[in-house]
């Protein structure tokens, strides 16, 4: 199995965009090709991470549309849908294609167009991933977050304010991200006084609805330096994917995300490292509670201790383990299929020293992308090439 390098990376501005999904994908795709110094017809494989372009926009067949727009024919194309973790699953598919030798040059483009839908409609499209016994009760992903947050706070005696501090931190980080939907700091009082969405969680505990796209170009590590200078590419040293139950209430411990535990175990083993070796991480903070759960289930902190790390500033940009230097989904936005790709974009920038004002001291970074409410998860570990 070949080691795989990422030689090109891009992302569009996230937020409310006039462009539709085809245009968003093409914008990010063109920029990533340019970053890698290759053309569309150099690609052997072209993947698109997207959850629901048919449901949101009535546009299906997006990989073929993108291939035509980028003159990438006859590249093999496929759409990767793993709900909110479609981006991470796309990274996995792209890595597989190169690691296996099936492709010498692969591009992954993740994207979603959502903001033309009302909040209720977008919430329903996303909630359609639930089991019939959940859907008929009107269960939404935010309501899963409320159920889990209440249990977490009760079980681990964590203060409500600790969740708010995740939002404050990630908004602060997003100020320095030119691609972020919100580049505005919020204070804890604003978070705690915002309207209730899923008690005990409030508006600022949730990511926004977002349009956007991100792209990555992959090749064997052995030839990466033929495309870009050595200090400009990153290497995927470990990657894993896993699923948990479809029906969320069937999990033995609702505050543990088994898919995070299992996918990260695979990624750590492949990389030959442990959680203590990670210098920076992008976690799937679709809801503030998810940052606690992932930081614990990835092994960064003991179970029930993730909130203490946030309180102590450990996960701040200048802390011992910066989490969501990009601003996370919370501030950057969450265009479903793009989010996992954009997480890896941020880690590529960090481990190649190209993160500008967001830069931290990082040789090794981790991205954890969560679909559903922990139903599907991918974890990727990246290292700088030098």
């Amino acid at each position: 199995m070949q080691r795989v390098a990422i030689i090109g990376a891009s992302m569009t501005r996230f937020g409310q965009r006039d462009a539709w999904v085809r245009e968003l994908l093409a914008e990010a795709g063109q920029a990533a090709l340019a970053d890698a110094g290759v053309a569309g017809d150099d690609l052997d494989h072209l993947y698109v991470s997207n959850m629901a372009s048919g449901e949101f926009e009535g546009q299906t067949g997006v990989p073929n549309a993108l291939a035509h727009d980028l003159a990438a024919q006859p590249a093999y194309t496929a759409r990767i849908d793993q709900t909110s973790s479609s981006g991470g699953a796309g990274v996995y598919a792209a890595w597989q294609s190169v690691a296996s030798g099936a492709s010498d040059l692969t591009m992954l483009v993740g994207g979603e167009k959502m903001t033309h839908r009302s909040t209720a409609e977008a919430t329903d499209v996303i909630a359609s991933l639930t089991h019939p016994v959940e859907y008929k009760h009107g269960v939404t992903l935010p309501s899963f977050a409320g159920l889990t947050a209440r249990l977490y706070l009760d079980t681990y005696d964590a203060p409500r304010e600790s969740l708010g501090k995740v939002a404050v931190k990630n908004h602060r980080n997003g100020v320095d991200n030119p691609h972020a939907q919100f580049r505005k700091e919020v204070d804890l009082e604003t978070v705690l006084d915002s309207p209730v969405v899923a008690d005990p969680l409030r508006l600022y505990d949730f990511c926004p609805i977002t349009d956007g796209s991100a792209a990555l170009v992959f090749c064997p590590e052995s030839v990466a330096a033929e495309y870009v200078p050595e200090d400009e590419y990153a290497v995927i040293s470990g990657i894993g994917g896993a699923t948990d139950t479809h029906v969320v209430h069937e999990r033995a411990d609702p505050t543990t995300m088994g898919g995070v535990v299992d996918s990260s175990a695979t990624a750590y083993e492949m990389a030959g490292i442990g959680p203590d070796d990670v210098d920076v991480a992008e976690l799937h903070d679709m809801f503030t509670i998810l940052e606690f759960l992932q930081s614990e289930d990835l092994g960064f902190f003991e179970k029930g201790e993730g909130w203490r790390a946030v309180e102590a500033g450990v996960t701040d940009r200048d802390g011992d383990l910066p989490i969501n230097t990009s601003g996370g989904l919370k501030s950057k936005g969450h265009p479903l299929g793009a989010s996992g790709v954009a997480q890896v974009y941020e880690i590529v920038k960090q481990v190649t020293g190209d993160a500008g004002p967001r830069q931290v001291d990082a040789d090794t970074g981790l991205a954890c992308n969560v679909g559903g409410f922990g139903n599907c998860v991918t974890t990727a570990i990246l290292e700088g090439s030098q």
Binding site: E55, T119, A120, E121, T123, D124, V125, A127, S128, H131, P132, V133, E134, Y135, K136, H137, G138, V139, T140, P142, S143, G146, L147, T148, A149, R150, L151, D154, P195, V196, V197, A198, D199, P200, L201, T245, V247, V248, H249, E250, P254
Partner: protein
Amino acid sequence: MSENDTTTEANTAESDDGRDGNDGNDAEPAFEAAAYADGTVTYPPHPVGPNGAERVGSVDLRDREARVVTWTTSTATPPGVREPNTLAIVEFELDEGDGPPVRALGQVAADPDDPDGGTYDVAIGDRVEPVYADELREPGAGIREPESQSWDGFRFRPVE
């Protein structure tokens, strides 16, 4: 047995005063969990159990009490869903021989004594019981194909 198999000729619509269910009506469908050969029990039923064991029977949760594991009140609800929507994950302790505890998620029932039509208050650890409702959300208002699943089921109310 599929989810749809439990949606038989229920004639137990919410009463005119807005109260959920109708105590003592034997015509209401079962609150069906599945039992598997290795002793596990799940709600909802699956073709095989969590460890891959074959299904060997059913457990009716309808007349049992459960404990609230956690709850939330959602104020941003999708089309066709009541707003606000209070939901709870509950855990049923089964009798010896029936199997280990089994969990379910469902709406909290409307409190008939609430002048605003709100739901009962619940807290972690509270004892609750299922109460049947013939339509939990409006079929066809959301994205899910109405014919693809059932829309009746069981809400939960505190045990008095």
